[in-house]
Symmetry: C2
Subunit: 192 residues, 2 copies
């Protein structure tokens, strides 16, 4: 999606080969009108699919998932990061390792809000190694829900998480795919 790529080129900060900061428009300050265009694009990509729910993970997935949900006219459910590993039987749980924070989070979704009838679009801001998305897939599997596909804002393609998900048969629609980046040369986007 050219609009997002241009925004990344203009306002993204490449701190290293691994770290792209987009907190001026995506995950601390949020450019709601840009995100609205992203939602519209995911709707275009998935327009022939039946989707009953959008699933994301706190915190930075919530804003983009909620705005996208307006185009799909379905509820959003966001997985919470649990502080306690003893949360009873009312939740689906999965573990997600965070490379940003260097720790493992237990993420939880109430069993009330995801069921075997649901056809789920998973949305998140970043896809690198795929830890968060795989944890959300695992939660859908626990619920017996169908994963229709994934909508990602920025995929760091060279980290492989997206291609592993595609190899498993999941549809992954990333609106910007980073092929490589460095503080000196900036971001080079992947072209198919």
């Amino acid at each position: 999606m050219k609009l997002l790529e241009d925004k990344i080129t203009k306002d993204g900060l490449v701190l290293s080969h691994d770290i792209l900061k987009v907190d001026s428009f995506l995950n601390h300050q949020i450019d709601a009108s840009l995100v609205s265009e992203m939602g519209k694009e995911w709707k275009r990509l998935y327009e022939n699919e039946e989707i009953t729910k959008i699933l994301t993970i706190e915190a930075s997935g919530i804003g983009i998932a909620c705005i996208a949900a307006l185009y799909f006219d379905v509820p959003v459910v966001f997985a919470k990061k649990s502080k306690s590993s003893n949360i009873g039987n009312d939740f689906y749980t999965a573990q997600a390792y965070s490379f940003t924070h260097g720790n493992t989070n237990d993420i939880i979704v109430s069993k009330k809000y995801l069921s075997a009838d649901d056809k789920v679009l998973i949305i998140d801001d970043f896809l690198a190694n795929g830890a968060a998305l795989n944890a959300l897939v695992s939660i859908c599997e626990s619920a017996g829900a169908t994963v229709v596909g994934m909508g990602v804002a920025i995929e760091k393609k060279y980290q492989g998480g997206g291609d592993k998900l595609r190899a498993k048969g999941y549809r992954v629609e990333s609106l910007a795919m980073v092929n490589s980046m460095s503080p000196e040369t900036g971001v080079e986007f992947y072209r198919e």
Copy 2:
């Protein structure tokens, strides 16, 4: 706002005199079309005010703030809960005591995303004692930004936080105001 009051009456769970669970439509599962109507209502209430930024706090404020931002056509900034109290000089910080979790959070906002030029609408899902909103006001004061007003989904009026903010001169627009509640009788809304 009748739509929100009706939703609370229908789907809110009153667990005690203090605890109202709205996680089926506001802070775990999110009814995006309801939230869109809430955003429209805040825009109506503040339509004569100049607003340059919406400020909220993670996690459950983010979704409603992002959808509201579409009506105001301004960026959202969400305060993050900091794990470290040593975060350098690049952030405004404040402390917010969480009655839900029984702990104090340091919340932070990058100095890049709030300035003395900003006219801020603060949005959050709940207003009880006002701890979160007061922390966000404190961050605006640190930035020299103007607080134009606040948009709250549900105010528990009997806990007094909203009236303390109004007594200080802040405009607080709560879309549903709870006068009292109990598991036996449900929610009674405040009428002026």
